[in-house]
């Protein structure tokens, strides 16, 4: 890797674009993600910009227990994100289904069955600081050796 490439990757890893998708959660984790945007946690001071455009995103936050309505849609959304990319499972639902993973329910957790998950944040819901530190710990690995890999 040349110096220029590593410099570019360093700069890229300091401006992460995040998209979040709710695949059937109770809305608790969505509110915690929104709390990250608020001044108290202020996710943008770390160079993380949250919007909902998968075409521009580097990191996808997956929230929820994967309801049947998301079959084939989540995979399509994951394909839309340009490389390099990483997905983070926020909360218990995408990890295990938590309270919704009971017999005779329609949810299909874990989300790792459907798209590759890079990091998991357990909690119901997780604290905004935990979400923040998960994104920050994934950020350097997303862009590391990016152009070499390509």
């Amino acid at each position: 890797m040349t110096l220029l490439q590593s410099l570019k990757n360093l700069v890229r890893s300091r401006s992460i674009h995040v998209a979040y998708v709710d695949v059937g959660s109770c809305n608790g984790c969505d509110i915690e993600v929104l709390a990250c945007l608020a001044p108290r946690y202020d996710i943008e001071q770390y160079g993380i910009f949250v919007h909902n455009n998968p075409r521009e995103a580097d990191v996808l936050l997956v929230i929820g227990a994967y309801t049947p309505g998301w079959e084939e849609k989540l995979e399509g959304l994951w394909e839309k994100i340009p490389d390099p990319k990483a997905a983070i499972a926020i909360g218990n639902c995408p990890i295990s289904g938590c309270l919704f993973a009971r017999p005779h329910t329609l949810v299909d957790p874990p989300v790792a069955k459907h798209i590759p998950i890079a990091a998991q944040v357990p909690g119901c819901p997780p604290r905004p600081t935990e979400i923040l530190s998960a994104i920050l710990s994934v950020a350097p690995t997303v862009f590391r050796d990016y152009e070499v890999r390509k």
Binding site: R40, Y41, D42, Q45, Y46, N92, I95, S96, C98, L99, A101, R102, Q120, P122, G123, C124, R127, T129
Partner: protein, 203 residues
């Protein structure tokens, strides 16, 4: 004019100013001490009552495993919802989480389990599977025959006059073994979880 420029330069070329300008961050947010995090072990001895598992609302969040040091509850991340019910339900204070134990002590509250056994006398055919399978019965009368008949009345369950009889319901530990061994679904164990405010004289 030149003097003001000097002042400006003095202000903006300070190292603290440059550091603040290029690395503006809020102070790292700390988790407050009252936050009810995932339950942790306090080191007290677990007596394997399994009340934590009975009180837990999330499937697969807690189990009690046998280690060389004794029984030990184990929390599964990704399943645990940090509700703190296992901490409250534990009779020995094996788990702790946030200020749950402290507030239980100051408010003098606790969660108490009681069990009720209902036998449907129209469905029961007196096979005695429940009485034989019951681990409490096994401790009291290890010689119990296969029909569930026994001579003592200290037992929890016993078959007499062709039907299952509940003799000492206060001995029940809520394990539901009888329920799993009943071929007719005639016996049902109800686990009653009550939040108890202990009366003043108990202090």
């Amino acid at each position: 004019m030149p003097l003001s420029l000097v002042y400006y330069a003095k202000e903006f070329f300070r190292r603290e100013w440059a550091q603040k300008f290029f690395a503006a961050k809020t102070a790292p947010l700390e988790t407050p001490p009252y936050f009810r995090n995932f339950p942790e072990l306090t080191g007290k001895t677990c007596t394997h009552h399994l009340f934590c598992m009975m009180a837990c609302p999330a499937p697969g969040a807690i189990d009690v495993i046998r280690t060389p040091e004794g029984w030990k509850p184990r929390i599964h991340l990704g399943h645990c919802i940090r509700c703190g019910l296992c901490v409250e339900a534990c009779p020995n204070g094996v788990l702790s989480s946030g200020r749950v134990l402290e507030s239980m002590f100051y408010d003098n509250t606790r969660l108490s389990f009681s069990f009720r056994i209902d036998v449907d006398r129209t469905k029961c055919m007196g096979c005695g599977n429940c009485a034989v399978a019951c681990p409490v019965n096994k401790l009291i009368d290890a010689q119990m025959s296969h029909g569930g008949r026994a001579s003592t009345d200290d037992l929890l369950l016993k078959v007499s006059e062709g039907k299952c009889q509940v003799l000492h319901v206060e001995k029940c530990t809520g394990c539901k073994t009888c329920e799993h061994h009943c071929p007719n679904e005639a016996i049902r164990v109800a686990r009653l979880l009550e939040a108890v405010h202990a009366p003043e004289e108990d202090l």
